[in-house]
């Protein structure tokens, strides 16, 4: 099978690059192992910098609504974070005094949404809070198993029964100017968010839960659909098992599901993520990139990989695949001519140029897509 570009990794970086290239008329394949960091996405495009408008437009074409406004995002444990671009689900406030009075609503027995923490934090900023719980008969089956009351399962039930919750919340609502609900709505149908927002004479804010992230999963599904609508090939639940390289150029890769068939391409993009996604693998003595054996900078002394303070910046997060200025991956000290590394497999090696987190994923995806497109013109 021959493609213009093969992307390894179907997370935020891989999908952004894939859509950009497919939009430019390329024939692209994405090999995706399945779960990725989108499942833990807070909805905040950290460090998005100059890519703010471009990504909003690209996502809009996929049906992903973003909100570009500077303000404060209320985090699940009650802290505030300064944001510039977020998913539409995220509640962004112009100031940390978010309302005079807030009604915080949770589901009885849902322990992954922190009403108590939110209330205490909001009250410090002058918002008086009331916490109330709802339970609807249509969700009771989730309780039969003790580990089913989790965000995505509730979201699936809400796709069918959100109106019942809205009518229960109407009964609870008094004179509050803000109603806070967990982010468990609109998994299948994004328009539900607006229908809930307009159902009350008060502002409605959706606040994050423990992962999995419902907005993140929805976004991943929409981006994947957009990529496929554009004609891209998305190989779901598959992984690259080996690569053929000659004289510093990658010619093809094999995958587990395709057996002996090879994926040939002019360009390859490595977007396999950090340690959690196994883009980087650490052993007691080394850190390596398992597919191509690319160069990674890290100290030999394992003691220097960690800070003993969990909440400090951890050195191991700075390790990543080394690249040249065009984000071509380095192997044995030389750039591989047609292999690019994007997203969190770079670690914080490119922090100064492309930021971290979602910003890093999107900005490096755009940069590499532009390089590849430029080369083709």
């Amino acid at each position: 099978m021959r493609f213009d570009t093969v992307i390894i990794g179907g997370g935020l970086a891989g999908l952004t690059a894939g859509i950009s290239l497919q939009e430019a008329g390329q024939k692209v394949a994405i090999v995706s192992a399945g779960q990725n960091a989108m499942h833990f996405f807070s909805g905040n495009f950290e460090d998005i910098g100059p890519a703010r408008e471009r990504v909003s437009a690209l996502f809009a074409s996929a049906g992903v609504r973003t909100r570009s406004s500077d303000g404060w995002m209320l985090m699940p444990m009650g802290s505030f974070r300064e944001v510039a671009l977020t998913l539409d689900d995220v509640a962004v406030f112009p100031e940390t005094h978010v309302a005079e009075k807030a009604l915080i609503v949770n589901y009885t027995g849902f322990h992954d949404f922190y009403g108590t923490f939110l209330a205490e934090a909001l009250e410090k900023n002058g918002t008086s809070c009331r916490i109330r719980f709802v339970r609807i008969p249509e969700m009771e089956h989730l309780r039969l198993s003790p580990s089913e009351m989790r965000s995505v399962n509730i979201a699936r039930a809400m796709d069918e029964h959100w109106e019942k919750v809205v009518s229960d919340v109407r009964l609870l609502h008094k004179d509050e100017d803000l109603i806070i609900l967990p982010q468990v709505f609109g998994l299948k149908d994004l328009s539900v968010l607006d229908r809930i927002r307009t159902a009350f004479p008060a502002r409605v804010a959706f606040i994050g839960t423990m992962p999995p992230s419902v907005p993140g999963i929805r976004t991943q599904m929409l981006l994947k659909r957009r990529f496929e609508v554009l004609g891209g090939t998305f190989l779901m639940g598959d992984e690259v098992t080996s690569a053929a390289m000659h004289e510093g150029i990658v010619s093809s890769v094999t995958t587990r599901n395709l057996d002996t068939a090879r994926l040939f391409a002019d360009h390859f993009i490595l977007a396999t993520g950090g340690y959690f996604s196994k883009g980087l693998v650490a052993t007691p003595t080394l850190v390596n990139e398992p597919l191509f054996g690319l160069d990674i900078d890290y100290p030999e002394d394992r003691n220097a990989w960690y800070d003993t303070d969990f909440f400090a910046d951890q050195p191991y997060l700075d390790f990543g695949v080394k690249t040249d200025g065009a984000l071509r991956a380095m192997k044995d000290g030389k750039p591989v001519q047609n292999l690019y590394a994007i997203g969190s497999i770079l670690g914080n090696t490119r922090k100064a140029d492309y930021g971290t987190a979602a910003g890093l994923a999107i900005r490096t995806a755009f940069a590499v897509a532009d390089t590849i497109k430029g080369g083709n013109v």
């Binding site: 444990m77 322990h111 009351m149 423990m210 007691p284």
Partner: protein, 531 residues
């Protein structure tokens, strides 16, 4: 009569202090127990959790060996819910001397330990994880014991017999009248208040920190802080305890416990200043994996959950640099006869296994001083929660058709699980999925077991001890604590401290899946939850 007056004050909330408090309270004394941190924070919670048969000491220390086997049999009776009767093997590997085996078996039998030579092939069939190259195997009545549960059960029973327990309270000095200790001065780290408590006898049961307590009282005990490092693996690789049949050395015991197994230990003398903050070094980790894989080769490729270390409260006798040759025997000091200081007793040395006997010896001495003539009953009276051989049997005594969650709770609490709320789906919903800890069990621990924070909760319920090391359940439990204590700020700070403490045991083994988990946890806490 002064306020804050007791018959006896016990310093130290480890297993020795808890056992002594229980014994004293059962003999009718008015007891106050003072602990600087939480229960089981020192060596009690930082060992193998091995229910020694005594075989390990049979060749070198007959006295310790026979103490062990007697206490081993007692704990099976009085603390059945804390004990897993796994049995143990002492295996001989090709590089070991097989002649040692005969001497070993002979010494075991002399100490009253039922040691039985098993054909290596048969032994491998019984415990398939063992090194297949073994050339000899001896079966002994080892087992595993949950030290947190055991300590909590002793503490609870002491309280049920009227003892008062003050946690997070440090002894800052002694109140003396001439050559007599009359009481203690304290400082509470949570309320930031000082206090004074009086009793005719004070028992120093502070483990390695006992040297400092003795200094405060004005007497000197020469202790030998010997650090022992251990690793916890994410699976129960072995069902039977595996030991090396040779003179005790590094990393030669592998103990299965609940869903995990533990390899250890090393033995290194450390300076006293380090006792409060022992770190596990990369060299120790490497040695534990290398030696552990000789017992059970699968360890080389099994995920490690965490590394930890404890400090043995050995009493120094000679210049042995490793501490291995110091007796693990019990040291009970009457400072009146030893130093001319009245009203002060030190109980130290010994082992987790012999805590009950240590408590009995200390309590006998206290009773003698107080002229109380009452016999010790701790060897016969079961601890709260004990009450059946296996979890299912106990669970079925409590509930008609116990659920998985209820059975898991019985595994931790024994009969005491009857007291937790578990009849409805709300209280059965899981907070910790790795260890199957329910909302009901957590709320019950908060109500009954002096829980002031997440780390305390972990010691009593195993929340955060599983493969995720607390990243998910930590938040859920913090939510419940915030509700129970009515303070979200405190719960948030507590969550940070909890994650920092979890990380302390993770970074020494920070590679492979452990590092994947750590990266994920970093992401969730910093970027998703915004802690």
């Amino acid at each position: 009569m002064k306020r804050n007056e007791y018959d006896v004050i016990i310093v130290g909330g480890g297993i020795t202090g808890a056992g002594t408090a229980r014994d004293c309270a059962m003999r009718g004394l008015r007891v106050l127990l003072i602990e600087r941190h939480d229960i089981a924070t020192g060596a009690t919670g930082r060992n193998h959790g091995l229910l020694h048969s005594g075989a390990r000491y049979a060749v070198t220390d007959q006295e310790s060996a026979s103490e062990c086997i007697r206490e081993n049999m007692i704990l099976r009776r009085i603390a059945s819910h804390c004990v897993d009767e796994t049995d143990g093997f002492f295996i001989t590997l090709p590089e070991d001397d097989l002649n040692y085996q005969a001497k070993f078996v002979e010494s075991c039998l002399a100490a009253g330990i039922n040691a039985e030579i098993v054909d290596p092939k048969e032994a491998l069939r019984m415990e398939p994880s063992m090194n297949p190259d073994l050339i000899g195997a001896v079966k002994v009545p080892d087992g595993s014991v949950d030290p947190f549960r055991l300590c909590a059960a002793n503490m609870l029973d002491a309280k049920l017999h009227g003892a008062q327990v003050l946690l997070y309270t440090e002894v800052t000095g002694f109140i003396k009248d001439g050559d007599r200790i009359q009481g203690i001065r304290t400082y509470n780290h949570q309320t930031h208040k000082s206090g004074e408590y009086y009793a005719p006898v004070t028992v120093n049961a502070a483990g390695i920190w006992g040297q400092h307590i003795a200094e405060l009282a004005g007497v000197k005990i020469g202790m030998f802080p010997a650090k022992g490092a251990l690793l916890i693996f994410a699976h129960r690789v072995n069902g039977i305890v595996i030991n090396r049949c040779r003179k005790p050395a590094n990393a030669d015991i592998l103990v299965p416990g609940d869903t995990v197994c533990v390899i250890g230990t090393t033995s290194t003398k450390i300076p006293f200043e380090e006792c409060d903050n022992v770190q596990v070094t990369p060299d120790e980790v490497n040695l534990l994996i290398e030696e552990g894989a000789k017992l059970a080769p699968a360890l080389a490729s099994t995920r490690i959950l965490r590394a930890y270390a404890g400090v043995r409260p050995l009493v120094s006798a000679d210049n042995d640099p490793s501490g291995r040759n110091i007796s693990r025997g019990i040291v009970c000091l009457d400072h009146e006869t030893r130093d001319g200081l009245k009203g002060f007793v030190t109980i130290t040395g010994g082992k987790l296994m012999t805590y009950r006997l240590m408590a009995e010896m200390a309590t006998d001495l206290v009773c003698q001083k107080l002229a109380v003539d009452k016999a010790c009953g701790t060897a016969e009276t079961p601890l709260p929660g004990a009450g059946g051989k296996n979890f299912r049997e106990v669970a079925e005594k409590i509930w008609e058709n116990p659920t998985t969650v209820q059975k898991a709770a019985v595994g931790r609490l024994g009969m005491a699980a009857a007291r937790m709320q578990s009849s409805d789906s709300l209280s059965q919903s899981l907070v910790c999925e790795c260890e199957e800890v329910s909302v009901g069990e957590i709320n019950s621990a908060i109500e009954r077991l002096d829980v002031s924070g997440l780390t305390d909760l972990r010691r009593r319920t195993r929340v955060g001890m599983g493969t995720c090391q607390g990243e998910l359940c930590g938040c859920r439990a913090a939510g419940l604590l915030a509700k129970a204590h009515g303070c979200a700020d405190r719960a948030r700070e507590d969550l940070k401290a909890f994650m920092t403490e979890r990380w302390k045991g993770m970074y020494p083994i920070g590679w492979g899946d452990a590092l994947r988990e750590a990266e994920y946890t970093q992401w969730v806490y910093k970027h998703v939850l915004g802690v």
